[in-house]
Symmetry: C2
């Protein structure tokens, strides 16, 4: 069994894959019984798909793997605080634990702009941990946006 | 140009298609310049896909049609109040208007459990109308859940 930081390192590899594909670098993995059963990264631009955030890609990947969308018992690792859409998907997927890296002050729906999980207490009450590899996650995002600014000059 | 009730009738046809497929009957369409550019219904069970709600299916269909996920100017019609996940997707898709049928007191994130659009004011401020073909939307859901209860006896 790996530590949270070790699993988050693998989620960061997913984020780096998004970076290489010119997508906002956010990555996620799903772990159940110490096994990685889903992974995903942001593909929104390439796929013209609003729902193609890292978390939803990883939830879908894990659900394909298990043949069910109910992911009770699983942990979702994601490099950035989930947005409203992804928080809703996480609540509905019934994952038991959510671990994220950096906070997202503008869009985050766990601790920043909305406390989504507080509103749906009782439906799904995952344990929440934050700040795991926060600096690495933030640095990758900063690097991406400064590259974008350079390209747009 | 059709009226809201006429467009909602078409969203209800999508909900009926979900009913026939043994999925919770919710349907949605996207209209831009009086044209239907996207349609969708709930496919969650068949596809084992947490994100396969009517609204996200319709947003994806419209985005495929236009080749972009930004749906500024468009109206989304959906038979049931959007959940948190779908409200997040609607905000991010930048649709200009949201019209829904029945309220969803347990899961609704527009006027019921969370006022999602209030939290993200400024990001996306669609005009919101509700109660269009409310009774028909509710009746279809009731019919579905009573059928399910019969089957489970």
């Amino acid at each position: 069994m790996l530590s949270d930081a070790e699993y988050m390192r693998i989620a960061l590899e997913e984020a780096e894959a998004a970076f290489e594909e010119n997508e906002v670098p956010v990555g996620a993995i799903i772990v159940l019984n110490s096994q990685i059963i889903g992974r995903g990264h942001n593909h929104r631009e390439e796929r013209h798909d609003i729902s193609s955030h890292a978390e939803i890609e990883a939830l879908k990947d894990a659900a394909r793997h298990l043949g069910r969308w109910d992911l009770s018992g699983a942990t979702l690792y994601v490099t950035l605080e989930p947005c409203l859409m992804c928080s809703g998907a996480i609540i509905q997927s019934r994952v038991s634990r959510l671990v994220f890296g950096a906070d997202d002050p503008d869009r985050g729906a766990v601790v920043s702009k909305v406390l989504a999980f507080e509103h749906f207490k009782g439906d799904s009450d995952p344990l929440i941990s934050r700040g795991i590899l926060e600096k690495e996650s933030k640095d990758l995002l900063k690097r991406f946006f400064s590259k974008k600014r350079e390209e747009n000059k």
